[in-house]
Amino acid sequence: MDGSERGIRGFRDGSGLRRIGKSEEGYALPSILMLVTILSLVAFSVLSLEYLERKSAMLDVARIKAEYAAQSGVQCMAAELDSSARCDSAREFMFYDGCRASVRVIPWGALYLVTSTGYSAKVQSIRRATLAAGPGEAFSLALALGNTSHQLVFTGNSSITGDVAVGPGGVSTGQLHGYSTPTVVPIQGHVTNLAAQSFPKIDLDRIHFIGNYYRNLLRNSSHTSALETSGIVSLRAISDSLGSLVIPPGTALSDSIARPDEPLYIYCSGNVAIGSNSRLIGMVSVVCSDSILIASGAVVSGCVFVSMKGIRTESTSLASTQLISPRIVLGPGCRASYPCIAYSIQLDPAQATSQTLLIAQGATFEGFAGLVSPRGDDALEIASGSRVKGAVFSSSRLTMDGDLVGSALAADLFFYEAPTSYFGWMRSGSINRVSLPKGLLIAPTFEGKHQLSVLEWL
């Protein structure tokens, strides 16, 4: 058969096609099949790309929804708990859009730490936050003097801006050697009888709960991994997966550690020092049976320090940090920024010691400073030249010589000027309640059911 016989039948003149047919016999079907294949592949690629893009967009939506579910979980838990809540608890919350959150709350110093996992489709998101309590009505005052048998006496350059609640003795000015005597009572605000305001009561069960909780953690710490070597321990050597660690007494922690996701508990049955220029960032808890020193130049953020004996800070930088111990000294140059908590409480009633909370000259503190003591002679001292912003509470004495922007509630005001102790007097301090921004939250340790709110998203 020659090529002229082939071609498409029915064409009168198939010469052109015949020529093609001659050299490309049977090419149309393979070429179309090839074209179909190629176009199918292109179409498949385009469709895959579009499908993946759509899937990715839906995943983004799910991620956002999971994030909101996690946040909502924290808020729901905060609303469900109140300041009288004691122990660990876990809850599930379902939401309008089909998302859900699994929420767990644990004690975190004097606060609560909430971990909420939000779920949407197959995506999950985790949010953590600390919960604190609203300050209650009493903290709307500039000063409440709990001892109603004492008169509030001003001398020197002491002053108060805001409302004051005192006993029936009222307010006056007094003369003191070496201090000027105000010509008028230096209060810019209303003075009311304390009976009308009622001095807030401490929830002692909650204080005991905090003490028990940390004593138990310390007692059970023997089951956790321990470092044998004492001396200086580099925080860099601690792996991210480690949840708790026991260090020998006398250890100094150096270098830096960041724990944004999982808490790390460091236990010690002796003294601990946080070394100069070390950095502890995130959810790190240092619990020790003796004292803790936070040395000069250290930077601490988001951590909890609990000591059965005492905590002393030198010229350090603290942020969102809690110091809980019977004896606390914030040394000169210490800068504690909001929301910090310094809480002098008796953690181990079996080894009760005298208590003190001193904010030394040159220190600044923002947050809640409290002292809860069964004895009347323990004192919270805001030294002259120190600056405090927030809420101050003392179930015992308060020496108010520094500058406070916020509210002070104290069973008694006190200072010693040789050879006399003065009760109910202020000599150089100032309290300004008016300048305190709204939204202050405090440690949830007062009687009554105070609503919890998010203090800080971690």
Binding site: M1, E5, R6, G7, I8, R9, G10, L17, G21, E25, G26, A28, L29, S31, I32, L33, L35, V36, L39, S40, A43, V46, L47, E50, E53, R54, S56, A57, M58, D60, V61, I64, K65, Y68, A69, Q71, S72, Q75, C76, A78, A79, F95, Y96, D97, G134, K438, G439, Q451, S453, V454
Partner: protein, 114 residues
């Protein structure tokens, strides 16, 4: 004549072309329509735009009231539901003229402002 048809391959290309055209028509044209429809639908892009709008609304933190606003080709609807000391803030984004078909719904529970 029959012998010629059988013994050589004259006319094979016509059959072949017809088969090819049938394949072309049955496979590629629906595929083309499908791809075009899928691409012109732009669901992913629509979803992304709607989510951006919804998130922006969520982040305004203006939780005072329910309301509705129009942004380009979308309608953003905000609702507030009080739940004791909390409130649920819900943002629904729909295409203009299609209020019953939400593109995206975001909601979160927040504490009532003190």
């Amino acid at each position: 004549m029959t012998k010629t048809l059988v013994s050589n391959e004259s006319g094979y290309t016509l059959v072949e072309t017809l088969v090819a055209m049938v394949i072309f028509l049955t496979v590629l044209i629906p595929l083309g329509f499908g791809v075009t429809a899928y691409l012109f639908d732009r669901k992913a892009e629509t979803l992304r735009e709607a989510v951006l709008l919804a998130e922006a609304q969520m982040n305004t933190q203006d939780y005072r009231a329910s309301g509705e606003s129009v942004h380009d080709k979308y309608t953003v609807n905000t609702e507030i539901e009080l739940l004791g000391s909390l409130m649920e803030y819900r943002v629904t984004v729909t295409g203009i003229g299609r209020p019953s078909l939400p593109i995206v719904v975001l909601s979160k529970i927040i504490e009532l402002p003190r």
